[in-house]
Amino acid sequence: MLKKFYSLIESVGNFAVKRVESAGRLGFFLSQIIARLWMFRFPLNETIKQIHFIGARTLPLILLSGLFTGMVVALQFYDTLVRFGSVELLGAAVAMSLIRELGPVMAALMVIARVGSATCAEIGIMRNEQQFDALDCMAIDSYHYIMLPRLVAALISVPLLTALFDVFGIGGGYIVGVLSQGISDGAYLTGMSDAIVWHDVFMGLVKSLAFGGVIIWISMAKGFYLHIEQKQVGAEGVSQATTQAVVLSAILMLFVDYFVSSIML
C-alpha cells in the first residue's frame, strides 16, 4: 500500500521535473537566439527567404480567413445593433474587435497552423538527419544561421499579416454591412475612423509581435530538442513534436493575449 503511494509521488515528481527541465530548455534556447542578435554579419539572405516563407506564402490564407472573420463579426454585430437601433456603429464595432483582439489572435492561429507546424517539422527533420551536428562540425553557428533568421522574419511578418487580416476583415464587414444589409458606406467608414485610436492599433501591434515571437520560438525549440524530449525518433518523433508545438504555441499565445490585454486595456 505504502509502495503505491510512494510510486505515485514519484511519478508526480517525475512529471514536474520533466516539465521544469523542458521549460528551462525553452528559455535557454530563446536566450541563445537573442544573444546572436548582436553578432556581426546579420544573415540577411536567409532572413529574406524566411520572410517569403512565413509572410508571403501565408498571405492567401490570411486573406481568406480575414475576409470570412470580418463577415461573421459583422453579421453578429448587425444582429445585435439592429435591436438597439444603432447600426451606424457597425463599422466601429467590427474594426475595434478586429484590431484589438480578433485580428492578432486569428492571424496568429493561422500562422500556427501553417508556419508553426511546418517550421517544427523542418527543424525536427534537420535534427534527425544530423544536420545540426554537421553545422557544429563545420563551425557554423546554427543559432545564428538557422534560428535567428526565422525569429526576425516572424517578428517582421506576423504584425504585417495581422494588419492585412484586419484590412480584409474590415472589408468583409463592409461587404456584409454595406453591400448586403444596406448600411450607408459613409456611416460604416467614418464610424470606424472616429472610434479607433492609436492605442487600439498599438495594442494590436504589440500583441502580434509577441504572438509571432512565441509561435516561432516554440515551434523551433520543439523541433530542435526532439532527440531529448520525444520518446521516439524518426518520423514518429517529428509528428509528436509538431503536435506539441502547435498546442503549446496556441495556449501560450492565448495566455500572452490575456496578459497584454490586461496591461494595456
Partner: protein, 266 residues
C-alpha cells in the same frame, strides 16, 4: 607530457548518458597520416566515441587532444579554427534540403574563406568529379539516391582539404561496387593529401582493406587496437566471433523456450 606526434590522443575517457555509463576509460591515439578504423557491435559505444572526437559531446572525465588542442577545455574561437581542419562525412550525408548539392558543398568555403567565387565554384566541381558526381551540382538533395547523398556529404567534408577526416559508416547502404570505389578513394585521399582518416564502420571487408590499425570496442571499452593481422590472429573470443560473424552462443532451455512460444511470457 606526451610526444606531440599523435594527431588524436584520448586518455581515460569516461562518458555517461544520464546515469548510464557508455564509455569506460577509453585510451586511444591516432598518428598523422594513419587510417584508423573503429569497429564494434551495436551498443559498443563507437558512435559515442566518434561524437566525443568531434566535440559534439562532453566527457564525464578524461582528455581528448586533437592536433595538440585539448577539445574538452578549448574556447569557442580555438574550436572554430580547429574545426576548419576537420571534415566529417555523416551517415546520411546530412545535406541541407533547401540548397542545391553545389551550394551545400560550397557552404564551408562561403562561410570561412574570402576566396573568389570562381575559385570556389571550381573547387566544388573538383570534389564532385572526385566523387563521381559531376553534373549533379544543381540538383536538390531530395533528387539524389542514398549512395549519391553520401558521396555529396563526403565532397562537403573534404572541400577545405581537412587534416583529419571522420567517416561515420561509409559503406552502409552502398552497393558493393560503390563501396569498393569509396575504399579506393579513402586510400587516395590519404596518400595525396596526407589526411588522417578515422572511420567508424561495421563492414569487415572495407575495414581490412583500408585500415592501418583497427580499434575494436566492446561494451564501452577498448578490447584491442592493432594492425589487421594482429586483429585476425587475436585470441580474444569476442574478436574472433566478430571476424567470423558467429552469432553469440545461445543456451536453449527447452521448457522455458516452449513456454515463451506458447504463452508469450517468460
Amino acid at each position: 607530457m606526451t610526444v606531440a606526434s599523435s594527431i588524436i590522443e584520448v586518455n581515460n575517457l569516461v562518458s555517461h548518458y544520464g546515469d548510464r555509463q557508455i564509455l569506460k576509460n577509453v585510451d586511444f591515439s591516432v598518428e598523422q597520416g594513419e587510417i584508423r578504423v573503429i569497429m564494434g557491435g551495436s551498443g559498443s559505444g563507437k558512435s559515442t566515441l566518434l561524437n566525443h572526437l568531434l566535440a559534439l559531446l562532453s566527457p564525464t572525465s578524461g582528455t581528448i587532444n586533437v592536433d595538440n588542442i585539448d577539445i574538452t577545455s578549448a574556447n569557442r574561437k580555438t574550436l572554430t579554427a580547429l574545426r576548419q581542419k576537420m571534415g566529417v562525412a555523416f551517415q546520411g550525408g546530412a545535406l541541407f534540403s533547401s540548397m542545391t548539392v553545389g551550394e551545400n558543398i560550397k557552404l564551408p568555403l562561403k562561410h570561412h574563406t574570402k576566396l573568389d567565387d570562381n575559385t570556389i565554384d571550381i573547387m566544388a566541381r573538383l570534389k564532385l568529379e572526385l566523387m563521381n558526381l559531376s553534373g549533379f551540382e544543381d540538383l536538390m538533395p531530395s533528387e539524389l539516391s542514398g549512395g549519391m547523398l553520401k558521396r555529396a556529404g563526403l565532397a562537403r567534408a573534404v572541400i577545405m582539404d581537412p587534416k583529419i577526416l571522420f567517416f561515420d559508416e561509409p559503406s552502409a547502404g552502398l552497393d558493393p561496387v560503390t563501396s569498393v570505389e569509396l575504399d579506393e578513394l579513402i586510400l587516395k585521399l590519404r596518400d595525396a593529401m596526407n589526411m588522417t582518416i578515422v572511420v567508424v564502420t561495421h563492414e569487415l571487408e572495407s575495414a581490412f582493406k583500408i585500415a592501418d590499425k583497427i580499434t575494436v570496442l566492446f561494451d564501452g571499452e577498448v578490447a584491442i587496437t592493432g594492425t589487421v593481422d594482429e586483429i585476425k590472429n587475436s585470441t580474444d573470443v569476442r574478436i574472433q566471433n566478430l571476424i567470423n560473424r558467429r552469432p553469440r552462443e545461445e543456451n536453449v532451455d527447452a521448457e522455458k523456450y516452449m513456454q515463451r512460444l506458447t504463452t508469450g511470457r517468460n
